[in-house]
Amino acid sequence: MPALSKFAQILESDAFIVTCELDPPKGTAPSLLDNKIAALKDKVQALVVSDNPNARMQMAPMGFCRYLLDKGIEPIMTITCRDRNRLALQSDLLAAAGLGIQNILAVTGDYITWGDHPESSPVYDLDSVQLLWAISLLNLNKDISGSVLEGPAPLFTIGAAVTLAANTILPQILKFRKKEGAGAHFFMSHPIFDLASVAEFFKQVSELKAPLFASVCILTEEQIREYSPGKYPGLFVPKPVLEKFQSLNPGEVLPRMIEHTAALIEEIKKDGRFRGVHLMLQGEEERIGELV
């Protein structure tokens, strides 16, 4: 029988957890990211490996997660509903479990036209709620058709995404509740840039059934310059934060962004509603020491 993953064990403790997103290379050599991995290794409890982020084709996260495991780093494998039907989702999950990858972040996936293969067919055979349900069933040694799996059941720790800062929050909360019901063990938020923007969510949601991670993001200069609601999928930057950074000279943006994010992380730590923070550093992974 497999044991619970290291990440699952940390989730059961009281520790404040730090995770960081890392995109696999667009190529065959995971070692291309060795410098970033070395910088992150001792700063985080797990690395969340993205799955063709922004619908841009990259190395499959399963291979990259195995590379991280070999380096002694706990991976969380993202899996999106965009690129695989229910057969492929489940068989990839079984393969991941077979390779020792036990932490999964199950998400819908940015729409295909955002990426570098915009003419491709999007799948969405299952949605993220149904995928969470499917992974919960795999943990019971069954597939979603009800067939029993051979050998020991996988022991996935199942993560889901949640939007804390949308202006239209009630439909998002409906989905969040369904994800809780489908068996999510932890939640990772879409990036937040201040705690004021999550107030409405917590007004509606007083009790959390699973640990919640607040995601913070180092915005690029281009994102700050070009931002408008809907311009970048999943990115919702409150106006006061945006204005603060738009008024800066280009060279000042990154250091001030790091300063802002470090202060936000401290606030999140003290806040009490979050079990941890998830860092989206967008190329600035080697500067993690300035944040945590």
Binding site: R86, P122, D127, W133, I144, A166, L174, P229, G234
Partner: protein, 227 residues
């Protein structure tokens, strides 16, 4: 209705390059309503083709006819004599009509003059929008008369994706998120409970192509299964 748009003129002209006797066949139903392939559009396209071939100094004979429908045998039969004199049929019907015309006249080349786009409605003058994906498993009773499989770009069954911003779609910020619309509608109707439980995964067997529907009264005649 089925909504179509006319193909670019150059593409149509290229598809007719090998022929001298062209019959442009319009369809008086859906594609006439969406101003893509009815009598008026047939007339315009025929004139445009004549002028263009004339400028090219090509001798091409072009005739035109518009049927009430191209998706019924009885209407296709009405042009049997006229078809004999032509070597290509340029159909301005939807994809179904084009294929039925091709089946009715297997000895003739058939080319499409429109791109068939979706099942939709005339939202305003000159504006047609999609409403139905013909999934064979209608959930509109649950989702407040708004189809998530059509109006949500991702076709999600259980609520909005995280890309929704200010109630707008991740893919098109000008368009309302289907799940926000569904949510608001069901709140107004006091039926939100209908989407609070997890909707199961779509059964895609109902969308196995090509679909066949046999009316219950005709089952014995055709010995076919019903969709």
């Amino acid at each position: 209705m089925i909504v179509a748009t006319r193909k670019p003129f150059e593409e149509i002209k290229k598809s007719l390059a090998a022929y001298q006797n062209i019959l442009v066949v319009g369809c008086g139903t859906c594609v006439a309503v969406c101003l893509a392939g009815g009598k008026k559009e047939v007339g315009l396209l025929t004139s445009q083709l004549r002028m263009s071939f004339g400028l090219d100094k090509r001798k091409v004979r072009i005739s035109e006819v518009t049927l009430e429908r191209q998706c019924d045998h009885e209407f296709l039969e009405m042009i049997r004599d006229q078809v004999k004199d032509h070597d290509v049929l340029l159909s301005l019907a939807c994809g179904a009509g084009v294929q039925f015309l091709a089946e009715a006249y297997p000895e003739k080349a058939v080319c499409p003059g429109v791109n068939t786009t979706f099942i939709g409605v005339a939202e305003a003058a000159g504006l047609w929008t999609e409403r139905c994906r013909a999934c064979g498993d209608c959930v509109l009773a649950v989702t407040g008369g708004i189809c998530p499989r059509t109006k949500c770009t991702k076709g999600l069954n259980n609520g909005p994706c995280g890309g929704m911003v200010d109630g707008k779609c991740e893919v098109d910020p000008e368009r309302s998120c289907a799940w926000v619309s569904i949510y608001d509608r069901l709140v107004r109707e006091g039926r939100l409970f209908q989407i609070e439980s997890i909707l199961p995964a779509t059964d895609f067997r109902r969308q196995t192509k090509p679909g066949t529907v046999t009316h219950a009264a005709y089952l014995r005649r055709y010995h076919a299964g019903s969709k």
